[in-house]
Symmetry: C2
């Protein structure tokens, strides 16, 4: 039996590659494990932005203009909540509200996040498994000079403007570390290769790696462990990855990305526009592959997925 | 200083008279105390049907055709929840969802139902106070031959078809009785007269009376205590009052209503169509007033409210 591929991802950047991988791999041959450290309660409801982005992208109902929510969604509930005096900077559409209401209701009944996610995944007609990194609560906190911000405060409310001094994760940076979800654990134990998506290394991937025993298991993993650089020509395709790299003392480049994943991955895919960095990264001990990693359309996503498949 | 009027009411029947009383009394002169024993969680959210009906009616946004919800509301959230496999027999519109989301979110933060209700009341531009009967949870259960049904299961899901053997209230029928809310307690202590709306005596009024000390305080209350019969010509204007009266061994008539309120009220308003019952009810010790109690439009509501005002 062919061993499956384990994919680690965050939201927007990760979901692009996942959309390509979905076309290339059969459901039983690949596991998508998604960051949940951005999860936060809004209006008393449990919102899992990265799980939702992946779910909406895989079911072709994502709003690709905004990068969040469902395309063509209306905002009746939010507009009424605003009338009630609620703070509505976190935008949720009506169909999106249904997702959060359903998830919260199931979680409150004691159903695990893994199981709710699987229920929703099936209702969206998605064949591939979407696995939350953990059923335990983990919460990203961006430590700035002045305060400790929740991820969504930092990302949505303050639009990534505050300077990050440090990023910590409540739930895994303490004495007791959150555990990987059962399906993630199983994927770690049975996979043949690991793909780390071009997601934000600090905000999307680090919380996954910091789950109990995950980093050591990946470090000791003997197969191919490939990361796709989310930085191309010194810039992030989307989001604050380059800005945070500078703030935390990394060079914002595919070389800087390689430094972050030194000792974790053995292979890196850098963009063809960064081919000049190849030998420097090879000198760090990586196998370096060069490809067009900017996934502007479905074909580009599939091309990158097929290229990755050819590496294993 | 003129002493205020205390009004006890449930949802649809109560809100009609309340709409009339709103036109006749200034906000400081009247307290509307509303049944909350029908409250139930749907999709994990705290729904207070009677509070909402009164709030929507007083702010002129109630859907008068259905008797619940907001007029012109859309059902996007509910339709998505249905896709997620949720049981959607309890219909909630999008704007209505915002009410329940806001209320639940505030309750989860530890805000009392009284305070959330007052916040919502203000946002709806309502000047008159809407007071939940209690900040404690009370839950109506309809005991049938086969099972114990929650109020909404009985009322909405099974459309009042099951035969009621007994009606009990979790939260007040046990050893520890739920307390009246602070504003209800204050109204009881300071009011000059009490109006019991033409609401269902078993489902809407009884849970209010069964709150800790309320029944004895009303029994001992020396002022005018007037109930408006919800039964006219042997039938309830709306809802299962007549059906339940028969099931519980009462005659479904204004005489039967008088029997229920014997020792509690000293005055009863019966409909002009029931004038023949006057002397029989007078013989039970009531002052009996006759009026047109079928409130088919706003003027009829105001007429009844003005007639009541003339009694005090």
């Amino acid at each position: 039996m062919k061993k499956p591929i384990l994919v680690l991802a965050g939201g927007v950047g990760g979901s692009k590659l996942i959309k390509g991988l979905e076309s290339v791999y059969k459901p039983k041959d690949i596991f998508f494990v998604i960051n949940t450290a951005d999860d936060q309660e809004f209006y008393g409801l449990h919102v899992s932005p990265d799980l939702d982005t992946v779910m909406y992208v895989l079911s072709d109902c994502a709003n690709s203009e905004t990068g969040w929510g469902i395309k063509g969604d209306s905002f009746k509930v939010l507009s009424s909540l605003k009338n009630y005096g609620a703070d509505t900077w976190f935008q949720i559409g009506d169909k999106d509200f249904a997702t959060h209401i359903y998830r919260s209701s199931q979680l409150n009944k004691g159903v695990s996040l893994s199981i709710v996610t699987d229920e929703l995944r099936k209702q969206f007609g998605i064949k591939h498994s979407i696995i939350p990194m953990s059923d335990d609560r983990v919460a990203t906190k961006i430590v700035t000079e002045e305060e400790e911000l929740s991820f969504q405060d930092y990302f949505v409310k303050y639009k990534c403007a505050p300077k990050a001094k440090k990023i910590i994760f409540h739930g895994v940076d303490g004495v007791e570390s959150a555990k990987p979800s059962p399906a993630f654990k199983n994927a770690l134990d049975t996979c043949a290769s690991i793909i780390i998506c071009p997601s934000n290394p600090f905000l999307s991937i680090d919380p996954i790696l910091k789950l109990n025993n995950v980093l050591s298991q990946i470090k000791n993993f003997p197969g191919t462990k490939v990361v796709i650089s989310p930085i191309v020509e010194g810039k992030a395709i989307k989001g604050p990855a380059a800005k945070i790299m500078i703030e935390l003392g990394y060079e914002p480049s595919s070389v800087g990305i390689a430094k972050i994943y030194e000792g974790i991955c053995n292979t890196i895919v850098i963009d063809k526009r960064d081919a000049k960095n190849k030998s420097e990264i090879e000198n760090m001990g990586f196998r370096v592959e060069i490809f067009d990693t900017i996934m502007i359309d479905l074909q580009k996503k599939i091309d990158l997925a097929e290229f990755l498949q050819s590496q294993f």
